[in-house]
């Protein structure tokens, strides 16, 4: 059996595929949306079994180690909560006639395919397979972004598609180069693409070759991460797609792409002769952070606003991993987890808002705390959390990044702090209009369930005050792996 | 015995300032009148005025508040307490340690604060003019005074007035530039604080030039008497302050004999007379300033004080 992996791994790969096949056949959207929740929940359980049970074997194709288990659990969890949210979201879309049942069938199938693709990318032990998984997820999201068939949606999808495909190409070229670098050492054949093999032998690789490889991989997967200047697809894709997809994009896909970059960073770090990947990532991170911070000011579309904030945070995370070292890596991981939870929570809130008010224009939404106290205050909490203010988890990670950076490289900390402050200014400038002031638009109460949103923010709040010891121990362990 | 003597000195001092103050005012008026080739009122005229005012009934504005009626006594009390802590004819007042120079100035500040409020109580235009101009002048004069105090305190290493006087009385101090600056500054401040020409004209009732008079415009009867007396005491205070700091040799030591105390008393009267005369001469020699030229005048005192302090700070290190 070539795939020697635990049943858990099989489960998190097969459940989505099976579910996708099922949804493709099921006519009724209600039942399939419920099943969607169920399937996502099962996947989440499977990933938990991976977390608490044994990590399973290390086949040449699939494997699970401390690094990717973090991402897997996070992904499946957010995937689950998002499915709950979308169950209460999609119905409304059908009522307003933005979607037809046929599209919904497609939607649910694609949702599961996307989850499956990301899980594949995460569990892949084979850099080729990882590439395939990420591309799969990307293409499905492309289809989802365009699902509304409006001018804007189609344009967004098209933009996403072209930029994404070029990213695909570059990433593949990088992968080939890595294989070429491994060829003399590892020898021909499959093992030349098995990550566990590569990382053990990376020391003997030809440094120059993997340098080039890393550049291609960084740009290729960086396009998916949404790092400036490769970000162009991200805001539109977030803004024009269905809100659950925006949540998944921000919460999951970016992480997965980042995960790929991290894998190769480890590879490079293992090779003494190679250039340090740090400076590259730090530069890209700072550029994205500052760029996104400035872009936040002029946004008029609420979902695009938070999409840019995702770029900003991806910048911070990339910066942290670029800095390296136990503290910064820990901060990076923490920040990634916190950002996924917070941002997807925010998108849940935004989705409800957009449905109630019937618009995404920031200018047309105001006084939410007046008309919809729960929703409005949740949005406030979300923005407070994402802006990196205590007592929420993002603050802890930003505190660690900033203070550790300042102690090591004072000059790098200045732009970092400036960027964070600029972003905060922009976010609250918009929040003032959204949550406060004279209410406008419909005051109709929304029947959607706020549970996922509240759960996310609750988790972020708890994490900001108390991190369980096991979680910490294992985060630090991963931080060690990242070096 | 010593304690009794001290008590006597302190009590005498308190009565003395009260009794002498109107006389000093009368003296200044008389001298000014003579310089203007006028007969002028008799020296004891101020006493007569006070007694007449005390006998009169108070005519109170309809909308005057309780504050308006309290303030005269408040202002008087503050001024009197301040004055009774300034050595006149003898140092070593029993309670001199209960308030040093800074506190004395602050007490006068309290009196002014109360007066300024009184000016605004009835809600007339003139009261407002008076108060606002008064606080403007004070906002420059008070810091000037404080800086002058710094100068002396730095020389004497103490803000206790009696200590300052004692030290200046001894010859070790000698002549110091900063003390000279302080003297000039102190004189300017004294003129400003007492509303004398060129800052303000105590005799005028020409509306737009009034400062102090405008504040007390609505007062009458015993209230007015209190305020007049307070003003007189204040003038006395400043003159005796100048006297005891810059001519401290006449002060009687605490433990000295009763005779020397009487000698000190006589010399003190002489000092007052001289200073009052000089004040009158100065006032007749100079014309009243426009209100908005006052800042230059009083600010000058501020600069002098700062200069004196700065000199001391620097010279200490040399």
């Amino acid at each position: 059996m070539i795939i020697s992996a635990s049943t858990g791994v099989i489960a998190i790969l097969l459940i989505p595929v099976a579910a996708a096949a099922l949804f493709a056949l099921l006519p009724g959207y209600r039942i399939s949306s419920r099943l969607n929740v169920l399937a996502s929940f099962l996947t989440f359980l499977a990933s938990l079994s991976l977390f608490f049970g044994d990590h399973g074997g290390r086949g040449p194709y699939l494997f699970v180690d401390d690094l990717n288990i973090a991402f897997i659990v996070l992904n499946t969890f957010v995937g689950f909560t998002t499915s709950v949210f979308s169950a209460s979201y999609i119905g409304h879309e059908l009522e307003t006639g933005r979607l037809t049942p046929a599209y919904l069938r497609f939607y649910h199938a694609m949702y599961q395919v996307m989850i499956g693709g990301m899980n594949l990318a995460l569990t892949a032990n084979n850099i080729g397979l990882m590439w395939v998984g990420i591309e799969l997820a990307t293409l499905t999201t492309v289809l989802m972004v365009g699902i509304y068939r409006t001018h804007e949606a189609l344009e967004a999808a098209w933009k996403y598609f072209i930029l994404g495909s070029v990213g695909i190409g570059l990433a593949l070229f990088g992968t080939i180069l890595v294989y070429m670098a491994a060829l003399p050492v590892v020898g021909e054949g499959l093992s030349g693409m098995v990550w566990t093999v590569l990382v053990t032998q990376a020391a003997q690789f030809d440094p120059a070759l993997i340098n080039v490889a890393f550049i291609f991989l960084l740009l290729g997967y960086g396009t998916k991460v949404g790092l400036a200047p490769l970000h162009a697809w991200l805001p539109d894709a977030h803004a024009e797609g269905p809100t659950p997809i925006s949540a998944v994009l921000s919460g999951l896909l970016l992480n997965v792409a980042l995960y790929a970059v991290l894998r190769f960073k480890i590879l490079l770090a293992a090779n003494p002769g190679a250039i340090a990947p740090g400076p590259l990532m730090v530069t890209l991170g700072l550029v994205s952070l500052l760029f996104a911070a400035f872009m936040l000011y002029r946004r008029r579309d609420i979902k695009r606003l938070f999409a840019y904030s995702s770029i900003e945070h991806m910048g911070i995370i990339t910066f942290a991993f670029g800095m390296g070292g136990p503290v910064a890596n820990f901060a990076g991981l923490l920040h990634m987890a916190m950002h996924s939870l917070t941002k997807s929570g925010i998108f849940f809130a935004v989705g409800h808002v957009a449905q109630i008010k019937g618009t995404q224009r920031i200018a047309d939404i105001s006084g939410l705390t007046q008309t919809h106290p729960w929703l409005g205050w949740s949005l406030v909490i979300g923005v407070v959390a994402i802006a990196g203010l205590p007592p929420f988890g993002v603050f802890m990670s930003e505190f660690l990044v900033v203070s550790s950076t300042f102690a090591r490289e004072p000059l790098l900390a200045i732009p970092l702090v400036l960027g964070i402050l600029l972003a905060l200014g922009a976010l609250f400038q918009h929040l003032n209009g959204l949550a406060f002031g004279e209410p406008t638009g419909s005051k109709a109460p929304s029947e959607a369930s706020y549970v996922p949103m509240v759960v996310h923010f609750g988790l972020v709040l708890i994490a900001g005050i108390y991190l369980p010891a096991t979680l910490v121990a294992w985060f630090r362990n991963v931080a060690e792996i990242l070096g | 015995m010593a304690l009794i003597l001290d008590l006597a000195v302190q009590g005498a001092q308190m009565l003395l300032v009260l009794l002498l103050a109107p006389l000093l005012t009368g003296l200044v008026r008389k001298v000014k009148a003579h310089l203007l080739r006028r007969q002028g009122p008799p020296l004891i005229q101020p006493y007569r005025d006070l007694i007449r005012l005390l006998r009169k009934e108070v005519v109170l504005a309809d909308n005057a508040s309780w504050l308006f009626r309290v303030i005269p006594y408040l202002a008087f009390a503050a001024t009197w307490v301040a004055a009774s802590l300034v050595p006149t004819f003898g140092t070593g007042l029993l309670f001199s340690w209960s308030a040093d120079l800074i506190a004395i100035i602050a007490l006068l500040g309290s009196a002014r604060f109360a007066l300024a409020l009184a000016g605004m109580d009835v809600g007339t235009a003139f009261g407002g003019i008076g108060s606002s101009r008064e606080v403007m002048i004070a906002s420059l004069a008070e810091p000037a005074m404080l800086l002058i105090v710094f100068t002396m305190a730095l020389v004497a290493r103490s803000t206790q007035l009696s200590a300052v006087a004692d030290l200046l009385a001894t010859s070790e101090v000698g002549l110091r530039v900063s003390l000279g600056l302080a003297l000039v500054g102190l004189i300017i401040v004294a003129i400003a604080e007492n509303g004398r020409i060129p800052v303000d004209n105590p005799a005028t009732h020409l509306e737009l030039t009034m400062v102090h008079e405008a504040m007390v415009l609505e007062y009458s009867g015993r209230h007015l008497a209190m305020l007049e007396l307070a003003a007189a005491v204040k003038l006395l205070l400043y003159l005796s302050l100048i006297g005891c700091i810059f001519a401290p040799w006449t002060l009687a030591e605490p433990d000295s004999s009763t005779a020397s105390h009487f000698a000190g008393f006589g010399l003190y009267l002489a000092k007052l007379a001289v200073l009052g005369f000089l004040l009158a001469v100065f006032e007749t020699a100079i014309a009243k300033m426009r209100v908005f030229r006052l800042p230059d005048f009083v600010g000058g005192a501020l600069m002098l004080g700062l200069l004196g302090t700065l000199l001391l700070f620097v010279s200490r290190s040399l």
Binding site: F161, S165, F173, I176, G192 | -
Partner: protein, 221 residues
């Protein structure tokens, strides 16, 4: 046969690819562009086949076959159709003049040569050549994508980019998944073509000029 011969043939074919890429950059008329691309695809399938022969890797023949059928025949024909429908065969729609394009292309090739030949002293020469040429083809493809305004030529640019990738993949001795990847890419390209086609059929966009696709740029509402 001698090592030299294999090397020369591979070198010849890969170099041919680069040359055709240059040819494509300079083309102004879409038909000519398509023909050039078909030529490139044919060359690609040849070189892949040669690699299969050299490496004794039969599965590469599949890749070669896909390249030949799909890219050298199906796609060009399909695009011909589209162009006819759109009636844009006469358009000349470059952003920068062909001369500059040529110069830039030269620079890119030089760049890829220096990078690759410098960094791969240890790899076997055949692979080095392949990589160097593949990189130049990739870069040239990108150059075409950014220097052309209309969607068809962008598709063509992307496909030549992808030709470079397949070339590299084939050149990588014993690399697994090459076939799968080439298939995956064919699917991608199909997406591309269909996408252009769809937009036309559904009258969503008045032309396939990419700028028109950008007309509703994000927030301009």
């Amino acid at each position: 046969m001698s090592h030299g011969l294999t090397f020369d043939v591979a070198h010849l074919l890969a170099g041919g690819l680069v040359l055709v890429s240059f040819l494509m950059i300079t083309q102004h008329r879409l038909y000519a562009l398509l023909n050039a691309f078909a030529l490139q695809a044919a060359l690609l399938s040849l070189s892949v086949a040669w690699q299969a022969y050299v490496q004794h890797a039969p599965h590469l023949y599949i890749t070669a076959f896909i390249a030949l059928v799909f890219k050298a025949i199906v796609v060009p024909v399909g695009l011909h159709r589209i162009i006819q429908r759109l009636g844009i065969h006469r358009e000349i729609e470059t952003v920068i003049g062909s001369g500059t394009t040529m110069l830039v292309g030269m620079g890119l090739v030089a760049l890829s040569m220096t990078v690759m030949l410098k960094v791969t002293p240890t790899a076997d020469p055949l692979a080095r050549e392949d990589l160097a040429f593949a990189l130049s083809v990739v870069l040239l493809g990108l150059l075409m994508m950014v220097s052309r305004r209309n969607a068809v030529s962008q598709v063509v640019g992307f496909m030549s980019l992808e030709n470079g990738l397949v070339l590299a993949a084939a050149g990588a001795r014993g690399m697994p998944l090459v076939v799968e990847i080439s298939v995956a890419f064919s699917v991608l390209i199909a997406f591309f073509v269909i996408g252009v086609f769809l937009f036309r059929i559904r009258e969503r966009f008045d032309t396939v000029d990419v700028q028109a696709l950008d007309r509703f740029r994000g927030e301009r509402r």
